[in-house]
Amino acid sequence: MTDSRPETPERTEGAPSAAADPAPAAADATRPGLPAALLGGVAVVLGVVVLLDAARIRAPAGQSFIGPAAFPVGVGVLLMITGGAAAAWSLRALRGVRGVRGVRGTRVERASPRPLGRVAALLGLLIGYAIVLPRLSYVLSTALLFSGAALLFGSGHRTRTLAIGVALAAAAFFAFAHGIGVGLPAGPWGF
């Protein structure tokens, strides 16, 4: 089963929009289910990966009645079925056939354009944090993480945000490193 299976276009265009789900009708109408279609596709790919990995496993002979590969095969199949069905179903909704309740996609109200750009920026910030953390000490890198994230989330005051970031990072460092004894990277200056 693949996610690119063509949907049966048997539904009549302009069927009366279903009374099934009155809630977010407006949101449904704009972009029904593109994320669900993508996620479904990813799940199918993941299912293939799980199955390939299961095929690679060599069960030690005479171990037990079902080996280490059996359960993964089930999971892989489940991933492919559910992912494929979700993708097919949301793609059908995407084609603008009304009357089919689509998977609710993105919401309509957006404060500013390029929402995926903001997501990428935040993700980049997080990745950068993981890279600098062992090198730049916990307090410094965490203060940068907090301030960067807060600014991305629309915090107006730069200096205040930075000050809160430093205070929070320092408090977390002393509570966890000294209080609980979690090993956190410290710079040459000791924090």
């Binding site: 539904r11 009549t12 069927a15 009366p16 279903a18 289910g33 994320p35 993508l38 996620l39 799940a43 993941l46 299912g47 990966v49 799980v50 299961a54 496993i57 030690p60 171990q63 037990s64 009645f65 079902i66 359960f71 993964p72 999971v75 489940l78 991933l79 559910t82 992912g83 069905a85 979700a86 998977v103 609710r104 996609g105 404060a111 500013s112 929402p115 995926l116 903001r118 997501v119 935040l122 993700l123 997080l126 993981a130 953390l133 965490t142 993480l145 907090f146 994230a149 807060a150 989330f153 629309g154 915090s155 945000t161 809160i164 929070l168 977390a172 966890f176 004894g181 979690v182 956190l184």
Partner: protein
């Protein structure tokens, strides 16, 4: 009765100053994270799991249970004052609660939520104390085939009740099961889905999955939405009820409890369905029908009682069978496991004192929550004044810290981000998160039971249907999956005939 004596012993231990303090810390943190949007009890317990290395089991479990109960109380505050549910079980509360707050009756709504939560939580805990031992005794008869069947039921019902439809629930479950496969197979030592990365041999830690799906996924989703914060309704008066409001609230509390506890204790999990049912019931019963939608107190009292009663109900399968039916319960199960304890009937025979201490602490925690929430309602409301930019900055700081602290490794952070992106995609696609968490934690256990069962049956799969209990349970699982599909098929056919009909 034996159980009563054990419960009294449990109170003896739970009322020691140290345990009282842990309970107080737990319910306070629980209320706070329940109030704050974007962070909930499952995430919080996951972040605090490292505590299990340093604290004795009773203290940690008392605190985690307190967080669970506290989250149920706190969730109502943000629903009522901000119209943003702090917790999925408080979605319905926002319907009437926020209307009440806008009409200047926020304090009343908070009071009926808090008192209702207390009454429902106490009755629920009482019911838990009564049914726990008999259920555990019954579960003693379960063998691997029965456990496997039960877990299949839990998988299907969790997929069915969380989120908007079965398909997306199953998709979420499958993703969680797949993540649960990563690592070394315990029975044969084979590496699965590790792709040659040595850090993956130990499997993906529950903390990483829960924090990634909930915290990172939520932060990415919120920045994607770019939503500004809603308006927080001020609390003008003291949180209390007038005589008339008492009269209208208490039947709703009791009805909510009656719906919440049984549904919570079925292996069907989740507090959401009971709250929806309670709301629908109150709405139908209200003879002031016109008031619903404009701030009817019953619409807050019933669902809030239902979600606390179901929180107590969820403890029944968790403690007696070892079956978690909500994300938080799944994480609490992990806490048990990290002490080498496996919830289930054996827990009652081997660690009876611990179980009864935990149950006793639930009574205590509920009382603390009432005291914390009634006079201090205004203080909790202040938490909502934290600008979302700082809130999400803080969430990111503590979630990365919590994950880094598990192994002190940066690799975990990258795994965390990958799962966070998955969580973001799931939110955008409206796929519920809880089934994935349950799948990750219950999946390996289900596999173990399946393999044990087949070993007993010497490879014959008919062992899975060897007892009436198994047959009934697996039939339930099949029905749970098929009924929504059938209904959709019928509805689609109805649509088609309607579409053909002349306009």
């Amino acid at each position: 009765m034996d159980g009563l004596a054990q419960l009294l012993d449990g109170f003896g231990t739970a009322l020691s100053p140290a345990h009282l303090l842990w309970a107080l810390v737990g319910v306070t943190i629980g209320t706070a994270v329940g109030v704050l949007p974007g962070i909930g009890p499952a995430l919080t317990v996951a972040l605090l799991l490292p505590l299990t290395y340093r604290v004795d089991p009773a203290s940690a479990l008392i605190m985690f249970a307190g967080i669970y109960y506290g989250g149920m109380y706190g969730g109502s505050t943000s629903s009522i004052l901000l119209n943003t549910p702090g917790e999925s079980a408080s979605i319905v509360t926002a319907l009437e609660g926020n209307r009440m707050a806008r009409a200047g009756r926020g304090a009343t709504a908070l009071a009926t939520a808090a008192i209702g939560s207390f009454i429902a939580g106490t009755i629920g805990t009482l019911a838990l104390s009564v049914v726990a031992s008999p259920v555990a005794d019954f579960a003693l008869r379960f063998g691997p085939p029965e456990y496997f069947a039960l877990m299949v039921v839990a998988f299907t019902t969790v997929a069915a009740v969380f989120g908007r439809n079965m398909l997306l629930g199953l998709l979420s479950l499958a993703l969680g099961l797949a993540v649960g496969l990563v690592g070394i197979d315990v029975q044969t030592g084979q590496a699965r889905l590790t792709f040659g990365i040595p850090q993956l041999l130990d499997g993906i830690d529950v903390v990483v999955l829960v924090v990634g799906l909930f915290a990172i996924g939520e932060a990415l989703y919120q920045i994607y939405l770019g939503r500004a914060q809603g308006t927080v309704e001020p609390v003008r008066t003291r949180a209390w009820l007038s005589r008339e409001e008492w009269r209208r609230s208490w039947p709703a509390w009791l009805r909510g409890t009656a719906i919440g506890f049984p549904l919570g204790s079925l292996p069907a999990g989740g507090a959401e369905v009971p709250t929806f049912l309670s709301y629908a019931l109150e709405r139908r019963l209200a003879w002031r029908r016109g008031e619903f939608g404009h701030g009817a107190i019953e619409g807050v009292a019933g669902p809030e009682a239902a979600n606390n009663a179901s929180a107590a109900g969820v403890m029944v399968p968790l403690l007696t069978i070892g079956l978690p039916t909500s994300a938080t319960a799944a994480v609490i199960l992990t806490a048990f496991q990290s002490y080498g304890l496996q919830p289930g009937p054996q827990l009652f025979t081997q660690s009876g004192a611990l179980v009864w201490t935990l149950i006793a602490s639930l009574y205590v925690g509920n009382l603390m929550l009432l005291v914390l929430n009634l006079p201090l309602a205004g203080v909790w409301a202040r938490l909502l004044m934290i600008p979302p930019a700082y809130l999400y900055g803080g969430i990111l700081v503590f979630s990365t810290l919590g994950v880094y602290a598990v192994n002190g490794s940066v690799t975990d952070l990258f795994v965390l981000y990958a799962i966070g992106v998955l969580g973001f995609a799931m939110r955008a696609a409206d796929v519920p998160i809880a089934p994935a968490v349950v799948g990750l934690i219950l999946g390996p256990l289900a596999e173990q039971q399946l393999r044990r069962a087949l070993a007993i049956g010497e490879g014959d799969p008919r062992i899975l249907l060897s007892s009436p209990i198994c047959v009934v349970l697996l039939a339930v699982a099949v029905i749970v999956v098929l009924v929504p599909a059938l209904r959709r098929l019928l509805r689609a056919r109805g649509d088609r005939t309607r579409a053909r009909a002349p306009r």
